[in-house]
């Protein structure tokens, strides 16, 4: 809720309201991973990215974030400049979550909240921890967290610093049944606030309004 309020406050020309992936192809280590992949995503929409292991779901997410070079095609963010969109407009939550095991959950959440959000401030971080029920875990070192708790901590970043486009790599897999439901609610809130989600999934994504299957 809090995240979306902030997001809508910043609804100006710097917020991404459209993602377009046109005729993209990616080659990894000389092997063609996929080609001719197209997707148009507008504010409020979520796309479930499916496909076998190795079909390039993670590569596509990383390509949208600008971390993987395209072999062909282009990725655009509507009226927003590509560099600006990648710098300030999207969150990437993947398997490599960037959390340092020797630091406390609070230190990590505070740092990434500030890094992604610019202004920072404790309010967004506390609210994010609250929404993902991490408050009682904040003083633990990251290494003491379970896989599901760790994923929730990584996801808390997306609430601590509001950004329009969420790129999620199998967000549900380490979570238990209750948290899968809870995360779906949070994703729905993000979409209702004008956000967009592109998520690589193996299980059905309840909030998805469209899907894209990659074939190896």
């Amino acid at each position: 809720m809090h995240g979306n309020a902030k997001l809508s406050k910043r609804l100006d020309d710097r917020v991404i309201t459209h993602l377009s992936i046109r005729d993209t192809a990616i080659r990894r280590g000389g092997r063609l991973v996929f080609e001719d992949v197209c997707l148009e995503l507008s504010a409020g929409e979520a796309c479930a990215l499916t496909g076998e292991n190795g079909s390039g779901k993670t590569s596509l997410l990383r390509a949208v974030a600008g971390l993987v070079n395209l072999d062909a095609g282009e990725i655009g963010f509507g009226a927003v400049d590509v560099e600006d969109a990648r710098a300030e407009g999207l969150h990437l939550v993947g398997h490599a979550d960037g959390l340092k095991s020797a630091r406390t959950a609070r230190e990590e959440l505070a740092f990434w909240g500030q890094w992604c959000g610019g202004g920072g401030g404790g309010g967004g971080i506390d609210a994010a921890a609250d929404a993902l029920e991490l408050t009682s875990l904040l003083d633990l070192e990251v290494r003491r967290l379970s896989a599901g708790q760790r994923r929730r901590l990584a996801l808390a970043r997306t609430l601590a610093a509001p950004r329009a486009l969420w790129l999620l790599d199998e967000p549900l897999s380490p979570l238990d049944a209750r948290w899968r439901t809870r995360l779906s609610e949070l994703m729905q809130q993000h979409l209702d606030g004008g956000g967009m989600i592109l998520a690589a999934v193996h299980d059905p994504l309840p909030v998805a309004t469209r899907s894209l299957e990659l074939s190896a």
């Binding site: 971390l67 710098a87 300030e88 960037g98 230190e107 740092f111 890094w115 920072g120």
Partner: protein, 221 residues
């Protein structure tokens, strides 16, 4: 600005814990500084002649210790991905990572350097210059070392590769700093060598982040 301060704080804290941090660096430094006289012989005169040089070379070696983890850990756990998804240019991010490295290991080593040199028999009045040279040289070691660390990202046994890439880059500061200390000890003009060391550190600080950012981008893509 608060974003950069937060990064500096994190990087310094991580560097402090990385590979044992300053305690291990200083311990290694003390070890190397002790080994050299054992190999060369105990005569005070002979030791005093090599004291500053030995302390200086040991400093360069100790600076190598935690370098290999400077980018490697962030690369492996995905933090480097997230650090690039920010309005802060990657060059500035690399700059701050190196400053953190310098604060956590370069500065403690600079404090240990005069102690080691005097322990080996260098005269007491050399201490301030050794400290200044070590502080400045540490800056050059951290930024040149960062280039090697970024270039060896993703390579197997990256730590060894880092050392091989970086040691040639450590040659100029070792020559300039060692020269300045030697001149001072012999009552010769030493400012030239010190100024050259400063110039080299300035070049490292200015150009290092550009090279590191390019190497990081290359490793990520």
């Amino acid at each position: 600005m608060s974003r950069l301060l937060a990064l500096l704080q994190r990087e310094t804290a991580l560097a402090w814990g990385r590979g044992g941090g300053p305690l291990v660096a200083v311990g290694f430094y003390a070890g190397v500084a002790t080994l050299l006289p054992l190999a060369i012989g105990p005569e005070p005169q002979r030791l005093a002649a090599i004291a500053t040089g030995a302390a200086w070379v040991a400093l360069a070696l100790a600076s190598l210790l935690s370098l290999d983890r400077l980018f490697e850990r962030d690369f492996e756990d995905g933090a480097l991905d997230l650090l690039t998804l920010s309005p802060t240019p990657l060059e500035l991010t690399c700059f701050i990572k190196c400053v953190g490295q310098w604060l956590a290991t370069g500065a403690p080593l600079a404090v240990a350097a005069p102690v080691a040199a005097i322990g080996l028999g260098a005269s007491l009045n050399l201490a301030p210059l050794i400290f200044a040279c070590a502080l400045l040289g540490g800056l050059a070691f951290a930024f040149m070392g960062g280039i090697g660390a970024a270039l060896s990202l993703g390579a197997r046994r990256g730590g060894l590769l880092t050392a091989v890439i970086v040691l040639p880059l450590f040659v100029p500061p070792v020559i300039f700093g060692g020269g300045a200390l030697d001149s001072f000890a012999n009552g010769l003009p030493w400012r030239g060598g010190f100024a050259l060391l400063g110039a080299y550190a300035a070049i490292a600080v200015a150009l290092g982040p550009v090279a590191m950012a390019a190497a990081c981008r290359n490793a990520l893509s």
